[in-house]
Symmetry: C2
Subunit: 257 residues, 2 copies
Amino acid sequence: ALDRPATIVGGDLPISSILIVIAMQTEALPLVAKFELVEDDDRSIFPKGVPWIRYHGTYKGLHIDLVLPGKDLVLGVDNVGTVSAALVTYASIQALKPDLIINAGTAGGFRAKGACIKDIYLVSGVSFHDRRIPIPVFDLYGIGARSTFSTPNLVKELGLKVGKLSTGDSLDMSPQDEASILANDATVKDMEGAAVVYVADLFSVPAISVKAVTDIADGEKPTAEEFLQNLIAVTAALDRAVTEVVGFISGKSLSGL
Amino acid sequence: ALDRPATIVGGDLPISSILIVIAMQTEALPLVAKFELVEDDDRSIFPKGVPWIRYHGTYKGLHIDLVLPGKDLVLGVDNVGTVSAALVTYASIQALKPDLIINAGTAGGFRAKGACIKDIYLVSGVSFHDRRIPIPVFDLYGIGARSTFSTPNLVKELGLKVGKLSTGDSLDMSPQDEASILANDATVKDMEGAAVVYVADLFSVPAISVKAVTDIADGEKPTAEEFLQNLIAVTAALDRAVTEVVGFISGKSLSGL
């Protein structure tokens, strides 16, 4: 009952605008170049003071907005994690009213579920693995399982792997996280996806998530090391996949995905 | 360096508007009654579709907005946790431009740091205990330590206990959470405070946090059971404390707190 599909309005009209939500600058910049997007400087859609960044442009007839939470104003690192992802997604939906949201990013993959480094997953459903609330019903709220928008034609055409995503605010994985991820039946884990889909769902905006595997969560290597080692190469694979996804969407309606 | 105070604009002007952010209806309703606030029904400051709720009114010459993230639209439980708290705080700041934010709520307390059931804490600083990112600088970003707005006169006048707050999205506490909370030097733990203060800090809105202890995190009883057992009684103590805090603020400037 909780794993409900998003309500779709206007499913047969051609998709005209896409909002791409990405957490890290390293993941975003190759796509900004590929789609020839320009940065929204002087007349930002975001309020004064926030570090969030928007790029925009047109690619194959689609209006594309690509947003990222930017860098921490004091520490200078990317504003990764659920809070910033939720905020920038919320502010972008309010300002841009996109037809479709694509959350793209890197992720840890589970070897036990068939994931390998550089695999690209189209996410079939999201949940959280670090929101344990052991009170009836609150427990389900914490897990927050949601289906992403169903895109059977896209999956078939692009030959993407399909799996569930579990989200948490830590890069590493505690034993409790691991147990929750297993219970969530997830193949990939990230730090933003379920928060982006949660906010999209609040406003019934269809959302999909494309995740590229940088590290094996149930492997031997320390996550942080493997993540940093593979980030650049896997980002290139991610960006190729997102470009293909956007190319496939061009000219189609939601119901055609 | 990270533990920086908020920048204060207009510190000598009298405070005219307060935004109170509360996560649970049970915590909020006694204050709504006490301050004689009315619900914002037909012309909401929030976009259509969100479950967030605003009450507003005037108490002792102060304009008061009290917001809560409302109930999950499917599950019917309070939208606790950092994502919803951050979103409703963000949307409220944009719409209301408050002079001061008060985050009020229940919390777990640490006996080892002197906390007892029903104690009321004024929070001196916040951080997160479930955002472990073991990469240099990202680790500090994840912890996200921030000072709340300093209120020495308020603390003295009301005789409140003072301690640090650590925030995470779980009601329970894993060994990793406990180690992080210890490292954060926290006396109380909750599920929203650091997210509210993070958003307030983005817009340089001074924020304080008042937390009432419902359960002993380093005690023998299971947290969920103890939390539910004490929620009503402790909420009454919380609401008395918040009423005193608001009464103290009335007629004062930020620099007078």
